[in-house]
Symmetry: C2
Subunit: 375 residues, 2 copies
């Protein structure tokens, strides 16, 4: 008997192609043709089959279809990030999803919370689900070899954080160039004593190191010796950053400007400067952008990454691989944008021998939001 609908207990069982075929009075192959819009079916048959599909509210089972389908594709991909709630990750997600939608591909999204074990478990699960490919912001750690293994079978693209030696494409922000741009911007506004504040690199991410390098090398080019740079490291969250910056600005050798190399340290620095009443005296440029920074006084000058572009490119690279590309794995760098909002355009107020007597520039007025592309 075909009609098992009324004997299965839990919510009538779904109709299958055979139900449709029986109702339309055709073979299942004909139903398959209609469902997949294949040619060589008479108008009238198409019509009858469509009617049966409608009547039964038939929905083809994609998973069953994939099982024998020639190309072996499931039209699904997996996205694995630290947290899907992170603003940058979710912007990346949105962009990837759009590209995927254009290819009828669905996106599994999940968070590993920087736990390499969980990252590995998630990737295993995705492979068991036979995703066509994966996009990964890796938790790093010492489990890179897992990714290596995965990449052998399933196309893999790294986003936002580098591939850590795994032979796969990666799409990341221009950390080095962006940080150098920030340094140049502050140097150009007369600062020579500029503090570096950033997170630790205990997770082994390249980003933090690259930002520090970019910052330091630019200072070096302008003749500022590294030993003259106050460095606050391991500021992993806003509170730690706030305390550290507060201590620093209270000290004798207060910097005239601060570069913060990630969001939390920027927020901490903003708070510390406000609390000390120095937010209009000590210049600040932060890496990473966030909401409301333009409402503060002064507005916060930032080096903004471009998560939409990162997501787009990652999706493009992944789909190219899925389509069979055998090109050498490459790392793609998406340029950042320096957005001047005021805090980064303050001229040194104290200890500025090289620009003695120079006053605040008009940019210090905060309102002008000029955008400069970094090269």
């Amino acid at each position: 008997m075909l009609d098992t609908a009324h004997i299965t207990g839990s919510g009538r069982s779904r109709p299958t192609m055979r139900h449709v075929a029986a109702l339309a009075g055709v073979g299942i192959k004909t139903v398959s043709r209609v469902v997949n819009a294949e040619p060589n079916v008479s108008q009238e048959t198409v019509h009858r089959v469509r009617e049966a599909i409608e009547r039964l509210d038939y929905q083809p089972d994609l998973n069953a279809g994939n099982l024998k389908r020639a190309n072996g594709k499931t039209l699904t991909i997996g996205l694995v990030v630290e947290s899907v709630a992170n603003p940058i990750s979710s912007a990346i997600h949105r962009a990837i999803e759009q590209k995927a939608w254009e290819r009828d591909t669905a996106v599994f999204a999940s968070s590993h919370g920087d736990d390499p074990i969980r990252e590995h478990a998630i990737m295993q699960a995705l492979q068991r689900r036979r995703v066509d490919g994966m996009i990964l912001t890796t938790a790093g750690g010492s489990c890179a070899y897992h990714a290596e293994g995965a990449a052998r079978r399933t196309p893999l693209v790294f986003v936002d954080r580098a591939s850590g030696g795994v032979g796969a494409d990666a799409v990341i922000s221009g950390d080095f160039t962006g940080a150098a741009h920030a340094a140049r911007h502050l140097l150009g506004h007369g600062h020579r004593r500029i503090a570096y504040c950033g997170p630790g690199d205990h997770l082994g991410f390249r980003s933090a190191r690259e930002r520090e390098r970019g910052f330091m090398e630019e200072l070096g080019r302008w003749g500022v010796p590294t030993t003259d740079v106050p460095v606050l490291q391991d500021l992993d969250d806003a509170e730690t950053a706030q305390n550290a910056v507060a201590t620093m600005v209270r000290s004798g050798s207060r910097p005239t400007a601060i570069f913060t190399s990630h969001g939390p340290s920027t927020i901490g620095a903003i708070r510390a400067l406000r609390e000390a009443g120095l937010h209009n005296s000590v210049a600040l440029v932060g890496f990473d952008d966030f909401a409301l920074t333009e409402i503060l006084e002064p507005g916060v000058t930032v080096v903004a990454p471009d998560p939409e572009r990162i997501g787009q490119m990652a999706a493009e690279r992944l789909f190219a691989r899925i389509d069979g590309s055998r090109a050498e794995p490459n790392t793609y760098v998406v340029p950042t944008t320096l957005i001047a909002r005021g805090s980064g355009e303050l001229w040194p107020k104290i200890d500025a021998p090289h620009r003695k007597g120079r006053r605040l520039s008009p940019h210090g007025q905060a309102a002008a939001v000029e955008r400069q592309r970094n090269r």
Copy 2:
């Protein structure tokens, strides 16, 4: 021949249970037992099979397994929201994903951009993929009947926006109560002339209307006639809101306080008040919370929803349905929290006959962040 690995062109084909069985010298059912940790396999056999799995790097195909599996579950669910990049949605997503992970369930996430057509297409696609259930922030529109149809076959829970008449569970914010709380807060600080600013409800969302109702009714209870309330509607984005509020505060009958009923209108109001130099004179309470509101001066008092809790509850409801619950569909309301940061604690500076001569309360000093649970 079993070993087709070296003859398939595109990246050696994956090993199957039969490959493992052949290598271990057992039947495929035995491999199946080991993979699924079923009992009644000798220690030694388990060991041999495990070794073969390891050697071949075998990964069971979950989709194939699901095909005949008794319970018919795929251990996947779908999340459909306006945009996965929206902070509230992504926080909800994170919470859902956590609950799902505990059940070995993977989450498809996608955005409909408030397009009902796309919403429908996404839900269709999810059903073809045989998700066990769906969580939906609906685009509304007139396509509610689609959701109705979907809910008949696949468990469905609405989040963040109400179900619009579809007989399904919903988990939403306490819009009415939260807005009433905001009104009460401002009334309690001496305000009687309080403006309402919010988005239009052209999309048919209940939230906007509920927030307006909650606000108005509370005013009514305090003896403020509705006709005395300046109302700015259709402020769908920050820019529109900024212009409208700017015009309003320049007018003769400026309100002493403003309630903004969603994020963009709050941002617009903040900008307009700052531009007019009134941010320390006109009180402001906004619905929805966002980053950095505590750094502004004064800090922005908000009625904050609880997306984590919303996501958790939505997942709990969905999984209960998936597990067979036949309870009456219900709408669950997650309470909001009023976070006092300064802007909502300003006392009226002009036109405050009922509290003549009363000065700024100490709360007006901004720093104190007191949290009050609304009832």
